[in-house]
């Protein structure tokens, strides 16, 4: 076919060439002739410097500072911006060797060539000052201000917990954190991470090829200032805590003290403990490894995580249940021949006045009495079966907060164990077990296990005559309210009228003229009510246990003390508890009790154990 417009192909070809030619000229000017773009690009390296907020401060209930922040400087590197530099000078300023420089740069490069990595953590302020002047010689490096935790008082390591860098798993769980960020790992630092952490900010700087900051990027238009974390106030009494830790030195165990009317934790001691400073900054990894390999396990928070038998202290709970269920009343008495014998089973009791009713039974901690009422409860015909009776008992026990986490504001609380009926079914077969088989529960032994904080909570519930408030360590947080859960009264299943005879027993255990088990815990004018316990320990010497609250009317403090391998409750736990109460209520120890304080401070169950072990080896 005839094509009249064939020549137009040349015009079209020219039309294609023309703009491309124009582009080439334009590109030549832009890329080769015009130096301003080269310059502009090199001064255009953008550096995003994260502004880390300082974490909130932590105070105790009296306003004493427990945790604050101290500036620290991390030396950062951006591999893509590195240029050859004087390694010798660099190393001498930072007191590192060339090998370190090489490995760290390689590591940073492996992570990212364009993002910054930490090159050297926490250089001192002095080194920082020297380095800052020479910074222009080391392109690709810059200093990132951080803060580190600082502890003016060397106490409460377990409560406060520690802060560390997030790892990959934490980042997955907490989006919003990136590598290098700090996060609370245990204790209050973890529970109240959200309040304490604040918000990161960012500053953007333009940096030239000589590592000089040319100024804020677009006058800081895109900067976001860091928001400081909120300060928090703990219910902890720092001086009481310090005293408790001192009393527990060289002992394994735990003290938990609670203000009964509020559920506020006044003191929470777990020993052996560690210095909180050990887990801060550069030394943390090394110290952590050392602490976790320690056979006494100082990182383990016994107050929340150790499972102990309740021991004789548990008789209080069993007494309350029997009263509530109408198995006995407060004047029902029981003779004690010095032992409780059924068939081949014999449970020994100590020598005391007999017969005893509730108050006296608690005062002298009569095993016979409590075995009787416990079995009478389970075997009571109104329940129809032992299992049904057992379940009634178990429900009462659980209403004291046993067998479940109390949900205190700590990240790693354990639940203890209150065996269910099915537990015994497995051993004996369904409905094949009798009250006799579980009679050790009458004395707080057997399969029942509790944590010290649960025991303190039971004490608080008794002090309150029937209710507790979930124990918590947070008293106040700036700019926000504390969990309403921590204001709510949780009632036990025991009516308040049944507490008086039991409390009378606890009072007499401390003050009774004849046969009180804890007379050593007596402090003039404080009306301490308490109950000793000896938790049988299949692995060694029994644990010494003591529960107490004071004063009897309008109680201010409820306390549970566990001292491992220390034998009878009266020997260690009771004196320590009484000293704690005295310290808290009177502020000081009376002169006539200084000898007791001295003896407690000197008591040493850790080195004694070591000594024993050595002896055996020899």
């Amino acid at each position: 076919m005839k094509d009249h417009f064939s020549d137009r192909k040349y015009i079209i070809g020219a039309m294609i060439m023309l703009p491309v030619l124009f582009f080439i000229i334009r590109l030549f000017i832009l890329q080769v002739l015009d130096p301003s773009y080269q310059l502009s690009a090199s001064s255009n390296v953008l550096r995003n410097v994260t502004q880390y907020p300082s974490r909130g401060l932590i105070y105790d209930r009296t306003g004493e500072l427990l945790v604050y922040n101290e500036p620290a400087y991390d030396l950062m590197v951006v591999p893509a911006q590195l240029a050859p530099f004087d390694t010798a000078e660099f190393c001498s300023i930072l007191e590192i060797d060339k090998e370190y420089v090489d490995t760290e740069i390689a590591r940073a490069r492996e992570y990212s060539r364009f993002r910054s990595s930490v090159f050297l953590k926490q250089i001192s302020a002095l080194t920082y000052a020297v380095l800052q002047e020479k910074m222009y010689k080391f392109p690709g490096f810059y200093v990132q201000p951080r803060t580190l935790r600082k502890y003016p008082k060397d106490i409460a390591a377990h409560i406060l917990g520690y802060v560390g860098e997030v790892d990959r798993r934490m980042i997955e769980e907490n989006p919003g954190y990136v590598m290098g960020d700090y996060i609370g790992i245990t204790g209050v630092e973890k529970t109240y991470e959200e309040e304490l952490s604040g918000e990161k900010g960012v500053s953007r700087f333009l940096v030239d090829v000589h590592n000089r900051v040319m100024g804020s990027y677009q006058d800081g238009r895109f900067d976001a200032p860091a928001v400081v974390g909120n300060d928090i106030t703990l219910s902890l009494d720092a001086s009481l805590q310090a005293y408790g830790e001192k009393l527990m030195q060289n002992k394994i165990g735990s003290i938990v003290a609670i203000e009964p009317s509020t559920g506020e934790i006044l003191s929470l001691v777990s020993t052996p403990t560690y210095h909180p400073e050990l887990l801060v900054g550069r030394v943390r990894t090394r110290n952590f490894r050392q602490l976790s390999s320690d056979t006494l396990n100082p990182l383990f928070n016994r107050a929340l995580m150790a499972h102990y038998p309740a021991g004789s202290t548990f008789k209080i709970v069993n007494g309350l249940i029997a009263l509530q269920e109408g198995i006995i009343d407060d004047v029902t008495s029981q003779t004690c021949p010095g032992h409780y014998t059924v068939g081949r089973l014999t449970i020994r009791c100590r020598h005391h006045v007999t017969p005893v009713a509730m108050a006296a039974a608690i005062q002298v901690s009569c095993n016979t009495y409590f075995c009787h009422i416990f079995r009478d409860l389970l075997d009571h015909p109104k329940y129809g079966s032992v299992t049904a009776g057992f379940n009634v008992w178990r429900d009462h026990v659980r209403s004291f907060g046993l067998g479940e986490r109390l949900d205190a504001d700590f990240p790693n609380e354990l639940r203890g164990f209150v065996p269910p009926a099915t537990y015994y079914d497995r051993f004996y077969g369904e409905n094949r077990w009798r009250s006799l088989q579980v009679v050790s529960l009458a004395l707080g032994q057997g399969e029942l296990s509790v944590t010290p904080i649960q025991m303190a909570n039971i004490t608080a519930a008794i002090a309150n005559r029937g209710f507790y408030i979930t124990p918590h360590i947070l008293k106040d947080v700036a700019n926000s309210d504390i969990d309403p859960e921590f204001r709510e009264k949780k009632y036990t299943t025991i009516d308040s009228i049944w507490f008086e005879p039991v409390i009378e027993g606890m009072y007499r255990a401390v003050h009774g003229p004849d046969g009180g088990t804890a007379r050593i815990a007596q402090v003039q004018g404080l009306d301490i009510c308490g109950k000793t316990g000896t938790a049988e320990n299949p692995h060694g010497d029994d644990h010494s246990v003591f529960l107490a609250f004071a004063p009897r009317n309008n109680p201010q403090i409820a306390i549970a003390v566990y001292v491992e391998n220390a034998g009878f409750g009266a020997t260690m736990a009771a004196p320590i508890a009484s000293l704690m109460i005295e310290k808290y209520l009177n502020g000081e120890i009376a002169g006539n009790r200084k000898w007791l304080e001295q003896r407690m401070l000197e008591a040493d169950f850790i080195n004694r154990l070591v000594a024993d072990a050595d002896e055996q080896e020899n």
């Binding site: 076919m1 094509d3 009249h4 417009f5 064939s6 137009r8 192909k9 015009i11 079209i12 070809g13 039309m15 294609i16 060439m17 703009p19 491309v20 124009f22 582009f23 080439i24 334009r26 590109l27 030549f28 832009l30 890329q31 080769v32 015009d34 301003s36 773009y37 080269q38 502009s40 690009a41 090199s42 255009n44 390296v45 953008l46 893509a80 911006q81 992570y111 990212s112 060539r113 364009f114 993002r115 677009q218 238009r221 895109f222």
Partner: protein
């Protein structure tokens, strides 16, 4: 017989074009890798990243190219209108069922794959236009043919503008080049190009320079058209006199109208007078030129307004979203500056592969899509830019050669459509990154990240190659 034909097709395939196509694909892939490089995913085959995805799309593109070659070329011819109609339906459907991305509703989302019907509309329009115009009975200057042709082109433009996707719709005006080749008067193309150039200049230059340029070119045009010194001088004097009077009037009145506007009004008034005189005096062609001058001046001043108030809200917000700015305090110039800095910093030989800092620190918007040329300019420098442009020129000229050697007007018209579309994308995209064309977000063929555009461009190209391979047996 069948077998024989197959072999011929492969032998007749224009392998030079295929090789250029493959090279462009690979350049695109490597550039995307560099543009969105992430240390955490440093493998170029990592399919969670854009470069890994692009590889999958490239492989699919090769498969598509093969399929197109293996398809009987008569099918394209046969289904032209059907395909066009189907694409129009898609363009309508996307307005209702599409996914909104960056405030324009232009995507269909099928699981992990996004399809942009506008990309395929170009192809469909090219096929339909070729089918329509190749009918020998149709003469392009027949008003009925012109109306129908305009309809074929403008229908998808309207629908795409509704999304709204201004960039893609502008590409359709490149079909003017095809119409020009098929005999449309050169004036239309001339005015369209002038229109484009003026638009660009109006945005890039300040008003005084613009006005001076306009007046100069107009006088040059008048001189050329009149070819008569006496008439020209008389015209100039009239123009100067009227303009002078108007400006004097402004001065005396002490008005607070800005000087620029005074000059414009003066020039417009002078043009109007000149226009009326020449119209009355029946001076040949002069009214046309003066009419042009008059509209050009008005147009120049309206273009800023249109760009700021009609086109900008959508495009500005789109770029703002990309940059993460709530408002764009530095305006369009910021992006263009960053883009120019990136390209300029490449120097003669570039900063080297993966060494670009501008494109790495997110200074440049849409690094892997519309601004992919920045990465090439920064990392491979002037040399790399030159190579890329050379490849595109090679491709376009080769396609021109191929289009011209077609023996059917259908294939030729289609070929020119492909050339026009590629050419427009090339000029607008690269022109945008070096700051000579306003920011209109359209991809660089075969280089920019994105499956839809890659496939659409590939199908476009290989249908042409398929026609070409069969050109000997294909007469109409």
């Amino acid at each position: 017989m069948q077998m024989n034909r197959r072999i011929n097709i492969w032998r007749n395939l224009d392998w030079l074009t295929v090789i250029v196509w493959l090279v462009l694909l690979i350049i695109g892939w490597i550039s995307i890798y560099s543009a969105v490089y992430d240390d955490a995913h440093s493998s170029i085959f990592d399919t969670s990243q854009r470069y890994g995805k692009q590889l999958i799309w490239m492989i699919a593109a090769v498969v598509i190219a093969f399929s197109v070659i293996l398809t009987d070329n008569k099918l394209f011819l046969f289904f032209s209108y059907f395909f066009y109609g189907f694409t129009i339906l898609l363009l309508i459907a996307v307005l209702f069922f599409g996914t909104e991305v960056n405030s324009s509703q232009s995507w269909f989302q099928f699981g992990g794959i996004q399809i942009q019907p506008a990309e395929f509309a170009k192809l469909a329009t090219a096929l339909a236009l070729a089918q329509f115009l190749s009918n020998t009975k149709r003469k392009i200057h027949d008003p009925k043919v012109l109306v129908n042709t305009s309809f074929i082109i403008l229908l998808p433009v309207m629908l795409i503008l509704l999304q709204p996707d201004v960039g893609s719709s502008l590409v359709f005006f490149s079909f003017l080049l095809v119409l020009y080749r098929e005999g449309l008067t050169g004036w239309v193309l001339f005015f369209f190009i002038l229109f484009c150039v003026l638009s660009v200049l109006a945005l890039l230059m300040n008003e005084i320079n613009m006005l001076a340029l306009l007046v100069l070119t107009s006088f040059a045009a008048i001189v050329t058209v009149l070819r008569n010194a006496k008439l020209t001088i008389r015209g100039l004097l009239i123009f100067a006199a009227v303009a002078g009077i108007v400006i004097l009037f402004f001065r005396l009145a002490g008005t607070d109208i800005i000087v620029d506007l005074q000059l414009v009004i003066a020039a417009a008034a002078a043009s109007l007078v000149l226009f009326i005189i020449s119209a009355i005096g029946r001076i040949s062609n002069a009214p046309l030129v003066l009419g042009f001058l008059f509209t050009a001046i008005i147009y120049t001043y309206s273009v800023d307004y249109v760009f700021d108030n009609v086109l900008m809200p959508h495009q500005r917000s789109r770029i703002n979203i990309v940059l993460g700015f709530e408002d764009d305090p530095l305006g369009q110039s910021y992006n263009i500056n960053q883009s120019k800095i990136a390209i300029g910093s490449g120097g003669l030989t570039g900063r080297g592969f993966l060494q670009g800092t501008q494109t790495k620190f997110n200074f440049v918007p849409e690094q892997s899509t519309d601004f992919i040329f920045c990465t090439i300019g920064e990392e491979w420098g002037f040399t790399g830019s030159l190579v890329l442009l050379a490849l595109f020129v090679l491709l376009l000229l080769r396609l021109l050669y191929i289009a011209e050697r077609q023996r059917s007007s259908y294939a030729r018209i289609y070929g020119y459509s492909v050339i026009a579309i590629f050419f427009t994308h090339l000029v607008v995209n690269i022109g945008m990154t070096i700051g000579v064309v306003p920011v209109i977000g359209i991809p660089l063929p075969f280089i920019s990240y994105g499956g839809s555009s890659l496939w659409a461009f590939t199908i476009m190209l290989f249908i042409l190659l398929r026609f070409d391979a069969a050109r000997m047996e294909f007469l109409r």
